[in-house]
């Protein structure tokens, strides 16, 4: 049974409709890549899942229950951990404070997070706004992990980072997948790096899911057609 299942989601920002029917499933322990060119509705879909944007039709089920009517913080408590686009840390809290402000008990704690990202341990008492972009990204991922989610959502986790740092983050994601069996929904544009971790892919075009299947079935033709690469 799917951990997260959304079907036929439509959503609008005021008068302009952004989603015209998105279907998506994430199974237990599965890593799903949500792909598509800019402006195709990836981030909007994430917002709808996290209940930061109301959908006008369609259903969202998480862990066997409908979450369509719940407010954002309740959904997060049920186990959806979001690492938002643009590494949004609390800038005038320290690394440690950023992490404990959000923590809920479970297997993830400060020590485990530092094991995954040793740099955060070194920067423990530094303010988040003094960290480099990559470190802020690591902090944002760790903050989501500290809530002990069942589903981790990574929205453009490697955008605008140096190649070395990207590798470090991708390595951490692979490690998460191999060691914890956490379900992950990852939004990204780089097929080569996604290929190492993603089991399946869903492609959006103009607010609709137009292709979904095993990542290995993502042929160059398909990616050429929908992603322009």
């Amino acid at each position: 049974m799917a951990l997260l299942k959304i079907s036929d989601i439509q959503a609008s920002y005021g008068a302009s409709q952004a989603l015209f029917g998105v279907d998506l499933e994430v199974g237990d322990g599965e890593v799903v890549a949500l792909m598509g060119r800019n402006g195709m509705g990836k981030s909007t879909t994430i917002k709808v899942i996290c209940r930061l944007l109301k959908n006008s039709s369609g259903t969202i089920d998480f862990a066997g229950a409908s979450i369509t009517k719940l407010p954002g913080h309740r959904v997060a408590r049920m186990g959806i951990g979001l690492c938002p686009e643009g590494r949004r840390c609390f800038s005038n809290l320290t690394v440690y404070e950023n992490l404990v402000a959000a923590s809920r008990s479970g297997e993830w704690n400060f020590e485990r997070v530092v094991e995954l990202f040793p740099r955060l341990g070194e920067r423990r008492n530094q303010y988040a706004n003094s960290l480099s972009g990559g470190e802020q990204q690591m902090l944002a991922i760790s903050r989501a992990l500290m809530t002990n989610p069942r589903l981790l959502i990574l929205d453009e986790a490697t955008e605008g980072l140096a190649p070395v740092v990207r590798q470090e983050i991708w390595a951490a994601i692979s490690k998460l997948k191999a060691e914890t069996g956490l379900s992950i929904l990852v939004v990204d544009k780089t097929i080569a790096e996604l290929a190492n971790v993603a089991d399946r892919a869903v492609i959006l075009e103009r607010g609709k899911s137009v292709w979904s299947g095993d990542f290995t079935a993502l042929t160059p033709e398909i990616s050429e057609q929908y992603l322009g690469v």
């Binding site: 930061l52 954002g72 913080h73 609390f90 800038s91 404990v100 402000a101 959000a102 923590s103 989501a144």
Partner: protein, 327 residues
């Protein structure tokens, strides 16, 4: 560069030293002046929790200050007249015991803070300021038109309320009570600020949506903080009423809210000792500049303006050369 912690200890010791020095030199007026600064600082510490940590710019904290004052006034006036507050359905007598009055002041002001917060926290920004101001003004006009406790003229309480084992009419003993209360509250607020609740409150100020995505309800966090904040300011109101042995609708006025906010801005927003430094400076200026000119508020305005323009982070920020409060 001075560390903020060292600065905080210095400020606390200076205030204590001021009162003890005045006691040794037999200057009861100076002790009372210091006590006033301590009590106003306490009101500021209350507001600072909402304003500094929570980013909730409340222009209605005089409501809680006044409620605390009137809690003292109502209880003590019935005690001095030997009339019960109410007889049916059950008897409630007045009291002149400070701890009971404090408890009532805290309960009443936190209840009102909870209700006011329930409505005002649905808004933000300038609307939040206006809604809190409106609630404050409601209580102000209510107190003016409530003849039972003096109405517009206010109400005098002839004897200061009692505290077990102490003579509260002795200025230095009353100062001691107020100083200990302030220190205890500051300790509590400091613990709260560094708890995960405090960090979440800080996060909700920066970005409510981010707090939501990690599973916390910003509304609830801010409501709790606002309630605690109101309770502290209410306690300060009860002490202030006891200091003057007089209550009046002025305690509820929006100028009072503004003054409490001025303490925080002078001393440093979100700094633990910001309101303490601010209130002490305010009293100092009021006393000193007030002696020079009737229009001392003009000079205060100039000073406030220069602090806002040139000393980001208030006086504590300027002295410790750091724009952000210590973690």
């Amino acid at each position: 560069m001075i560390s903020e912690r060292f600065l905080n200890y210095t400020v606390a010791l200076l205030i204590l030293g001021m009162a003890l020095g005045a006691w040794v030199m037999d200057e009861p007026f100076l002790i009372t002046l210091t006590t006033k600064a301590v009590i106003l600082a306490l009101a500021g510490v209350g507001l600072n929790l909402a304003l500094g940590q929570g980013g909730l710019i409340s222009l209605g904290h005089a409501a809680f200050f006044g409620l605390g004052g009137y809690a003292m006034g109502v209880l003590a006036s019935h005690a001095q007249n030997f009339t019960p507050i109410m007889e049916t359905p059950f008897l409630i007598e007045g009291t002149n015991s400070m701890p009971i009055i404090w408890l009532v002041a805290i309960v009443v002001s936190s209840f009102f803070a909870f209700v006011i917060g329930l409505f005002s926290l649905r808004t933000s920004g300038v609307y939040f300021i206006m809604v809190t101001l409106a609630f404050g003004q409601m209580l102000y006009y209510f107190s003016i038109s409530w003849p039972a406790y003096g109405g517009e003229d206010g109400l005098s309480i002839y004897v200061r309320n009692s505290f077990p084992g102490l003579n509260t009419l002795d200025p230095i003993q009353f100062f001691g009570i107020c100083f200990v209360v302030l220190m205890v509250v500051i300790y509590g607020v400091n613990r709260l600020t560094h708890s995960s609740f405090g960090l979440a409150l800080n996060g909700a100020r920066q970005n409510a949506q981010r707090i939501r995505t990690v599973g916390l309800n910003p509304f609830k966090i801010q409501l709790i903080a606002f309630t605690i904040s109101g309770a502290i300011t209410g306690l300060a109101g009860a002490l202030f009423a006891d200091l003057n042995r007089f209550i009046s609708p002025t305690m509820f006025s929006w100028q009072t809210s503004g003054e409490i906010m001025v303490f925080i801005i002078l001393g440093g927003v979100a700094r633990l000792y910001g309101p303490v430094v601010g209130a002490a400076l305010f009293i100092l200026l009021e006393h000193w500049l007030g002696g020079l000119s009737e229009f001392w508020h003009i000079y205060l305005g100039v000073i406030l303006l220069s602090v806002v323009l040139f000393a980001r982070g208030g006086l504590i920020g300027a002295l410790s050369k750091k724009e952000n409060a210590d973690a």
